[in-house]
Amino acid sequence: MALAIALILLVVGSLIFHFLSPWYFTPLASNWELIDFTVSITFVVTGIVFVIANLFMAYCVIRYRHRPGQKADYEPENAKLEWWLTIITSLGVAAMLAPGLAVWGDFVTVPDEAAEFEVIGQQWHWSYRFPGEDQQFGNVDIRHITEDNAFGMDPADPAGQDDVLVASPIVHLPVGQPMRAWLRSKDVLHNFAVPQFRVKMDLVPGHVSYTWFTPTVVGEYEILCEELCGMAHFAMRGRVVIDERDEFENWLSQQPTYSELETQTVDPMLGQASYGLCAACHGQQGEGMQALNAPRIAGLDNRYLERQLKYYRDGVRGTHDLDTAGAMMRPILAALPDEAAIRNVAAYIETLTTESPITSVTGNVIRGKQLYENCASCHGENGQGIWAMNAPAIAGQHDWYLVSQLKNFREGIRGSHRMDLYGDQMMMLADVLQQDGDIDDVVAYLNTLSTN
C-alpha cells in the first residue's frame, strides 16, 4: 500500500515539479520556435504515458496486492490487447517523430538569404571571422598559424584579404538576419551553443561544420562550449551581441581586416620614447617596483600588453572600487593617444630584459606544483606563457604581484568587467585557489620556475 501511495505521489510530485519549476527554457531569442514546439509535443505525449502507466501500476498494486485466499489470473497472452497497444504506441511515436523530422528538414536547409560568418574554437577561446566585402572567405590552414597570423590566413589568397578578423570572444550579429555559422576548430572538439538560440553544433578540427539561426531579439547572450575540450572547458565562454542593423555595421567596420593587420607597422623605437612615462614606476628595464605596486613587465608578450593597456584605456581594468593599484594606470593611458602608440610601446616593452626578481613568498611547493597543473595548460609547464592560449608569462614575475592578482581574480576585483572575458576565465580558475594558503603554494612553486 505504501508503494501505491508512493507511486501516486511520485507522479503527482513530478507534475507539480514540472509546472512549478522555475527552471525552463530561457526566453527564445532566435527563429527556432519550432524547436520549442516539438519539445512541447514531446512533453504532452510522454507526460500522458507517464501518468497513465504509473497510475495504472499504482492501481494494480492497490487492487491486486496479496490478501489471504487471493489467486492470480492465468492469462499467458492476449493478442488483441497487445496489437492495440502496439498500434497506439506507434501512433504516439509518429506524433512526435513527424514534426521532429519536419523541423530537422528546416535545420539542415540553410535559407538562401543567410549571411555567413565563421566561429573559430580553440582551447579555450572563441574568435570569429566575417567574409568582408567580397562575401567570400579566404583559405585558412593550420600551417599558416603564427603569432602574427593567429587565424592561419593564407597570405596568397586574394579572397582572404578583406576578411574581417575578430580576435575577441565577443561577436556582434544583426537582428532579423538569418546567419549561417561556419564552425571551425584549431585544435580539439568544441561546441558552439547559445541556449537562447536553441541550436548547437560541434566544431571539429580538420573539418568545417555549420549551423544556422536568425537572431530575433536585441541583447547579449552567452556562448558556451558544450563539448568537453580539456581542463578549462567550463571556462570557454564567449558572448554574442545582437544589434540593430546599423549598429552592427558600425561595429563591423571597426574590426580590422586581414590586409589591414598585415600592413600595420610597429616601431619599438617610437615606443621607447613613450616608455619614459612607464619607467617612473616599472623601472628603466621594466623590472617593476613593489613600493609602487608596479609589476615586472619586461619581456611580456606584446599582444598581452596591448590588451591590458587597452583595458586600462577603456575602463575594463582598473575601474573596480578595490583596485587602487590598477586605478593608477588609468590616467597614464592618456599619454598614449592612439592604437599605434599602444602597439609601439608594447613592442618596446617586449624587447626589454631584466634579472629574475627577489622572492619573498613561501609555501608548500609540492602542493603548489599539483595545483599548478591547472595553470600549466595555458601558462605553460614552465610558466613561460603561451601566446596561442592568450596567456602571459608568469614565471619571473614578482611573487607579491602574482599573489595580489590571484586574489584580485578570485575576489572579482580584476576580471569581472563585462568586456573582460579573458579575465573572467582567470576568475573561474582562480576560484580553485580558495584558501590564501593555496595561492601561496602555487606562487611558491612558480618561484622555483623563475629561479631555474
Partner: protein
C-alpha cells in the same frame, strides 16, 4: 566414448569436486564461485566510482565551500566514474555475475561449457580492473577525457592524464574486452548447447533470454571499441593519424594530418549504443522473472517479450549516431537515426506494458525484490520517456550536452539497472547463500534508494532544459543561470550523499544475513524456474546431484487453474502436476 562436457554430463561421477581451499574459492572453475568473484570485484570497483561521484558532486553543489577537487581532478573523476559504472560495474556484474550464476542453473546444466575459460575470464577481468586502478597512481593521474574518450582531446595536451592515464585506460579496456569475449563465448555456447532436456528456447526464462541476447550484442559491439582503442593507441604512441587531424597543440601545429575525429565517434557509439542494451537487456529479463514470481502470475505476453528482446537487440545496432546529432557529422544522417531510434521505442514500450499487465490481476507479494522490481518499472518509464526527447533529432538540439542528458541516462541506465541488480540480489540471495536477508533493512534500503535517486535526477532534467551544460567544473557568473539553479545543485548533492549513505544498509544486510540470517528453504519464493529446484541450497558443484533435470513446461506456470499449488516447477511433468482434484 565421445567427450561430453561437464555441463552436459548426466551424472556427476566424472566431475572432480574441488577439494582444497584454493581450487574451491580462488582458482575455481565452478560457475557459481566465478559469478561471486565477478560480483564482488564489480561491486568493489563500483564503490570506488560512487565515491568519485560524491567528490565531484560536492564541488558542483558547493563550489565555494569545499576545495576537494580542482578542475584537473574533476575531469579525471567524472571520466573514471562513467567508465567504471558502465563497463566495469554494470557490464561485468550483469554478464559475469548474474550471467555466470544463472545460465547453468536456469538452463539445467552442471556448469558452463568451458569452465577453464570461464575461470580465465574472471582473472583477466580482474587484471583489467587492476590496470584501470593503476592509472590513479601514475604521474599525471587517470585520463580526464570524459568516458567517451573522444580524440583529439583524449590524447592531446590540455587534457588531464594525457601521459600515462589514457594509455592505461585504453589498455584496460582492451584487456576487459578479452575477458568479456572469453566469458561471452561461454555464455552463448552454454545457452545454445547445454540446456536440459525439454528446455526449448521458448521455454527459457526471460532472464536467460536477456543475458543471452546481451552477450551476443557484446560479442558484436566490443570489437568496434577494441579497434577504436587500438587505433587511438597507435595515434598516441606511434604517431599514426587515424583520428588525428592537423591541429594546434599548445600553440604549435602537431605532426598529425588527415585523421577523422568523427570516425572515432562512429566506432565508439557503434559499441556504445549496444552497450546500453548490454546492460539493459539482462535487467529487462531478470526483472521479468522477479515480477512474475512475486506476482504469482505468468509474465504477460512471453512470446512478445522474447521477440522484443531480440528486436531491441537487433535495432540497437542501427541507432548509434543518435549520440552524434550535433557532432558535426553530415546532418542528413539525423533523419535516419531519429527514425530508427524512435522505432526502438515501440518494442521497449511493449515490454513496459507487459510488465505492468503482469501485475494486473496478479497476487502481488510486496517482498523486497518485488519492491525493487516495481521501482524499476517507474524509473525505467521515466528514463525511457526522456529518451524520446533526446532520440528525436530536433528535440535533441537544445538538450544535447546539458544536464538533461545526465538526468536521462542516469535514470535509464544507472538507477534502473541498479534497482534490478538489487532486486536480483535480494531475490536470489537465499539460493546463493542459503540464508534469508533482513526484510526490514531491505525495505529501508529500497525506499531511500528510490526516493533519493529520483530527487537527484528529476531536477537535473529541468536544469538541462534551462541550459546548464554538462561536464562543467563550475558555472561562474552565467547570466541565464539563476541563483535558484545553484541552490538546486546543492540540493542534488545532498540527495546524492543520502543515497550513497543508504547503500550501507545493503552491505550491512548482506554481511549480517550471511551469518545471522534465517536458514533459507530450497524455494522460499515458491518459484517455478529451474534454479530453485536444485537438490541442495546453495547448489553444490555440478548443481544437480545424480541426475540432470528434465523440463516439461515454461517457467511461468503460476496460478494455473486447477493446480493445487499456485506454481508448477518446470521439471514437474504434467501427469504429476497435482491438481485440486487429486486431494
Amino acid at each position: 566414448m565421445a567427450f561430453v562436457a561437464l555441463a552436459d554430463r548426466d551424472d556427476d561421477a566424472h566431475s572432480h569436486d574441488p577439494d582444497t581451499f584454493i581450487t574451491k574459492y580462488i582458482w575455481s572453475q565452478d560457475h557459481k564461485v566465478i559469478a561471486i568473484q565477478y560480483a564482488i570485484t564489480a561491486i568493489s570497483v563500483g564503490l570506488v566510482a560512487l565515491v568519485l561521484s560524491l567528490l565531484f558532486r560536492l564541488q558542483l553543489g558547493f563550489p565555494d565551500s569545499f576545495s576537494l577537487v580542482d578542475p584537473t581532478e574533476y575531469y579525471q573523476y567524472v571520466t573514471m566514474h562513467g567508465m567504471i559504472m558502465v563497463v566495469y560495474l554494470l557490464t561485468a556484474l550483469f554478464l559475469g555475475g548474474f550471467g555466470n550464476y544463472l545460465i547453468p542453473l536456469m538452463c539445467g546444466s552442471r556448469d558452463m561449457v568451458f569452465p577453464y575459460l570461464n575461470m580465465l575470464s574472471f582473472w583477466v577481468y580482474l587484471l583489467s580492473v587492476i590496470v584501470l586502478m593503476a592509472s590513479f597512481f601514475v604521474p599525471g593521474g587517470p585520463t580526464g577525457a570524459g568516458w567517451t574518450l573522444y580524440p583529439p582531446q583524449a590524447i592531446s595536451e590540455g587534457t588531464p592524464g594525457v601521459d600515462g592515464g589514457i594509455l592505461l585506460m585504453i589498455l584496460s579496456l582492451a584487456i576487459f574486452i578479452v575477458a568479456f569475449t572469453m566469458g561471452g563465448l561461454n555464455y552463448v555456447t552454454t545457452v545454445l548447447q547445454a540446456r536440459a532436456r525439454g528446455m526449448t528456447l521458448m521455454r527459457m526464462p526471460l532472464a536467460i533470454w536477456g543475458i543471452f541476447v546481451a552477450t551476443i550484442l557484446g560479442l558484436l559491439a566490443f570489437p568496434a571499441l577494441l579497434v577504436a582503442a587500438i587505433m587511438m593507441m597507435l595515434d598516441h604512441v606511434v604517431g599514426t593519424s587515424f583520428f588525428m587531424p592537423e591541429m594546434l597543440s599548445m600553440g604549435t601545429a602537431n605532426e598529425y594530418g588527415g585523421g577523422s575525429p568523427i570516425l572515432f565517434q562512429h566506432l565508439f557509439w557503434f559499441f556504445g549504443h549496444p552497450e546500453v542494451y548490454i546492460v539493459a537487456l539482462p535487467a529487462f529479463g531478470i526483472v521479468s522473472d522477479v515480477l512474475s514470481v512475486h506476482a504469482r502470475k505468468n509474465i504477460f505476453g512471453y512470446r512478445m517479450m522474447v521477440w522484443a528482446i531480440v528486436a531491441i537487440g537487433a535495432l540497437s545496432f542501427v541507432v548509434w549516431a543518435h549520440h552524434m546529432y550535433v557532432s558535426g557529422m553530415n546532418p542528413y544522417f539525423g533523419f535516419f537515426f531519429a527514425t530508427t531510434t524512435l522505432i526502438i521505442a515501440v518494442p521497449t514500450a511493449l515490454k513496459v506494458y507487459n510488465w505492468i499487465l503482469t501485475l494486473w490481476r496478479g497476487d502481488l507479494h510486496l517482498t523486497v525484490p518485488m519492491l525493487f522490481a516495481i521501482g524499476f518499472i517507474f524509473t525505467f518509464i521515466h528514463g525511457g520517456l526522456t529518451g524520446l526527447f533526446l532520440g528525436n533529432v530536433t528535440v535533441d538540439l537544445p538538450l544535447s550536452d546539458t544536464y538533461f542528458v545526465i538526468g536521462h541516462f542516469h535514470m535509464v541506465m544507472g538507477v534502473s539497472p541498479v534497482l534490478v541488480v538489487f532486486a536480483a540480489i535480494y531475490h536470489w540471495f537465499p539460493k546463493i547463500t542459503g540464508r534469508m536477508f533482513h526484510s526490514g533493512l531491505g525495505k529501508a534500503h529500497f525506499w531511500l534508494t528510490l526516493l533519493g535517486t529520483y530527487s537527484i535526477y528529476l531536477p537535473m532534467h529541468y536544469l538541462g532544459i534551462l541550459g546548464l551544460p554538462r561536464r562543467y567544473f563550475a558555472y561562474g557568473d552565467t547570466d541565464f543561470i539563476p541563483e535558484s539553479a545553484h541552490a538546486m545543485n546543492a540540493g542534488i548533492t545532498i540527495a546524492a550523499l543520502l543515497v550513497a549513505a543508504a547503500q550501507c544498509l545493503f552491505f550491512i544486510n548482506v554481511i549480517w544475513s550471511l551469518t545471522k540470517g534465517k536458514k533459507a528453504e530450497a524455494n522460499p519464493w515458491r518459484a517455478a524456474s529451474l534454479e530453485w529446484q536444485t537438490p541442495d541450497t546453495p547448489p553444490k558443484h555440478g548443481n544437480w546431484g545424480a541426475e540432470l533435470p528434465q523440463v516439461y513446461r515454461w517457467p511461468y506456470d503460476y496460478s494455473v487453474p486447477g493446480a493445487s499449488e499456485d506454481f508448477i516447477p518446470q521439471n514437474v511433468p504434467d501427469a504429476y502436476a497435482s491438481t485440486k482434484d487429486d486431494k
